[in-house]
């Protein structure tokens, strides 16, 4: 029998067993979270909802999907924060999207999807801005941006020195949505109505259903 005499007296055998079980299961849980965050950040997972397939279409034509370098950014690389705690938090918060997908409007319908898209874009831009474009900076380092023209480097080093990536770089990956401050919902609706052969005014009704 091992002697635990070198341990303080309040650590009894039971406490020790509990500690070991706790540590192991905690480690397993963390590992699980890491794996869970990793898996739930993949394009494969995200597009299990059909509505996400609709945002993935333009993504698959974008330079983030097909960069010359071959470094592909998947959904979570941009939309889920770095670090297991923040990543888990983001996924936790993301469950509201899942609830909406299950009980809210029919986002799988391309019309409904496109009518809600601007609000989703505005929310995503705010998310990026609140985090100082942290997920962009996983791959992009301002000091290392060179570009094809000398101006690109100079602008990033001088003019954009105190700016966050998302302040300038929007509409890179998904369907173009204007900035919220100049967004005109009636024009957006007219475009969607034309695109899907809807009657005038139908978009508004569908959005408010």
């Amino acid at each position: 029998m091992l002697s635990f005499k070198f341990l303080p007296s309040f650590i009894t055998r039971h406490v020790l067993i509990a500690l070991i079980i706790g540590t192991v299961s905690g480690a397993v849980f963390i590992l699980f979270l890491i794996e869970f965050d990793h898996f739930t950040s993949t394009e494969e997972f995200c597009t299990t909802c059909h509505s996400m397939e609709l945002v993935a279409e333009p993504y698959r034509k974008s330079s983030h999907y097909l960069p010359a370098s071959g470094v592909r950014a998947s959904c979570g690389d941009c939309h889920v924060s770095e670090g297991v705690l923040m990543a888990t938090w983001d996924h936790f918060m993301g469950t509201k999207d899942l609830i909406k997908q299950l009980f809210g409007p029919d986002y799988d319908d391309p019309v409904i999807h496109n009518l809600h898209l601007p609000d989703a874009a505005f929310a995503a831009r705010k998310w990026f801005l609140d985090r100082d474009s942290a997920t962009c900076k996983r791959c992009h380092v301002k000091d290392a941006i060179v570009g094809d023209r000398p101006a690109t480097r100079l602008i990033h080093q001088q003019d954009a020195k105190d700016k966050s990536c998302i302040e300038c770089h929007i509409n890179l990956v998904h369907r173009k949505v204007p900035d919220q401050r100049t967004f005109k919902r009636d024009k957006w609706h007219a475009m969607i109505e034309k695109e899907f052969n809807l009657n005038v005014g139908e978009a508004n009704k569908l959005l408010n259903q």
Partner: protein
């Protein structure tokens, strides 16, 4: 009451008289300089001198830059504007429309509004609905016409400008803010150089080739000859540019059609001094009618004689109250005013008289008979109702639009060899060699003779067709040998 009206008329007449003889600078911007030089706009340069150095250099060389007018002063937009977008924290628009330029350049904006130039797109659509579609691209006729006439710029629901209509500098462009026209059609952005806009190339960028061959015609005219030879004496950079005072070597397009003279101000309604319309199947003298609403309408002066205070009906069904009328005579007087800076009265009036008689000759000899015969052919059902599906339709189209246009424009600007070569010579070849031959082929000898008798032989111009004159050396038969042939 009567007395008040009399006095108010007196004041009007007085102010018009004074207005006509005001000094002679292009209109100065009269706004306080506190209206521009927006602080936020100064930040644009730092990036744009790197990102778009070309534009930045152009602006730096401009009078705008010297007057502290910066990017934001012109490009700033309201968030409600259809084409507004966020850029580096500012709400801006790509297109700087005449309305935007008019924030400072009020006089030019007013003159340009409703001018012939600003109606370039509308009139093309009304007067030549088939040309773009049939000769251009059926799916996208805009591609061929709107480069000069102006596109309709459409802002898509995602805030971007539809590539069908933008980029475009056409002079009758329909802008997202509802204004019509494009200042940069003539004034290359972002330098907005006075010298550039005063040169013929500002205009001949569009006014060349088939539809308005003014580049060639001006270049071949005496005026063009002098301009090319003496370009260095044109004082093109001068702030004030009054013909006879600031330059005298040669007139450019600007000089005659919009430039200032010692007794007349410059005018951005570029068609205002044109007493004839030269780009229709038949030319007519035109009155420019200015309505109380500010709208301007060109009317055929032979058919309409609008007077101030009258209500007239417009082509779109609305009616308007006439504020002022520039009759063909008034417009001719304005044009003559320019001539007199270099020429004597007699010289000028003789040259213009010759121009008039050549336009009338075109009308009477070719334009009118051909138009009437075409009408008869449609009436007789010899031609189908489909436009441009028969040879003679193309022949007729070219007759007035190609040879007829060249002839009349050459007559206007004194391209003497053009009046003959590409004008009269090709007109006659087209008319007698193609049009009349095709008419005879289409309707047969009997009906052909009827049509010729009715529309040609009434006038002296065509009597030679009846004369059996001897074949001459022009046709390859030497003198004295023709008798043996017939």
């Amino acid at each position: 009451m009567l007395k008040t009206r009399f006095i108010s008329r007196l004041i009007t007449i007085f102010s018009i008289t004074i207005g006509c003889y005001q000094p002679l600078l292009a209109a100065k911007v009269e706004l306080e300089s506190s209206n521009w030089g927006k602080v936020e706009g100064k930040a644009c340069i730092s990036c744009h001198q790197k990102a778009s150095p070309g534009i930045n250099h152009q602006w730096k060389n401009s009078a705008h830059s010297q007057a502290n007018v910066n990017c934001l002063d012109c490009h700033q937009a309201n968030e409600d504007d259809a084409d507004a977008f966020m850029h580096e924290g500012e709400i801006i628009a790509t297109i700087v429309s005449p309305l935007d330029c008019g924030r400072c350049h009020e006089t030019e904006f007013k003159q340009q509004s409703g001018s012939k130039h600003s109606r370039a797109r509308e009139s093309m659509k009304n007067l030549m609905p088939n040309v773009g579609q049939y000769f251009g691209d059926h799916a996208d006729p805009e591609m061929f016409c709107s480069n000069c006439h102006g596109s309709e710029v459409v802002v898509k629901g995602d805030g971007t400008l539809d590539s069908a209509g933008w980029p475009n500098n056409g002079i009758g462009r329909v802008n997202p803010d509802g204004s019509i026209g494009s200042c940069s059609s003539c004034h290359g952005r972002h330098q907005f150089s006075k010298a550039q806009a005063r040169q013929p190339s500002a205009c001949t960028h569009c006014h060349n080739g088939l539809d308005s061959p003014d580049k060639e015609i001006y270049a071949n005219s005496k005026h063009g000859q002098l301009y090319t030879g003496l370009q260095s004496q044109m004082n093109l950079d001068s702030d004030q540019w009054v013909v006879g005072q600031d330059y005298f070597a040669a007139p450019t397009c600007v000089t005659c059609h919009m430039g200032a003279t010692s007794g007349m101000q410059s005018n951005h309604d570029v068609g205002i001094r044109d007493s004839w319309t030269l780009n229709r199947p038949l030319s007519y003298k035109q009155s420019l009618v200015i309505l109380e609403s500010g709208e301007k309408i060109e009317l055929n002066a032979e058919k309409h004689d609008p007077r101030k205070g009258e209500t007239i009906n417009m082509s779109d069904g609305r009616s308007g109250l006439v504020k002022a009328v520039a009759s063909p005579e008034k417009r001719r007087k304005a044009m003559t005013n320019v001539c007199l800076e270099c020429h004597s009265k007699n010289f000028a009036s003789s040259a213009l008289k010759r121009f008039d008689s050549l336009v009338e000759l075109y009308n009477d000899k070719y334009g009118y008979p051909a138009q009437q015969i075409m009408y008869e052919l449609y009436q007789d059902k010899v031609l189908t109702s489909n436009p441009f599906d028969e040879e003679i339709e193309f022949t007729y189209w070219e007759l007035w639009h190609k040879q007829g246009t060249y002839f009349r424009h050459a007559a206007a600007m004194g391209d003497h060899n053009g009046v003959w070569g590409k004008g009269a010579n090709e007109l006659a070849t087209q008319f007698y060699g193609k049009f009349i031959t095709q008419v005879n082929k289409l309707v047969g000898k009997k009906r052909g003779e009827e049509l010729l008798a009715e529309y040609l032989f009434e006038s002296d111009y065509h009597q030679w067709l009846k004369n059996k004159e001897t074949i001459t050396p022009e046709l390859g038969v030497e003198k004295g040998k023709s008798d043996a042939l017939f």
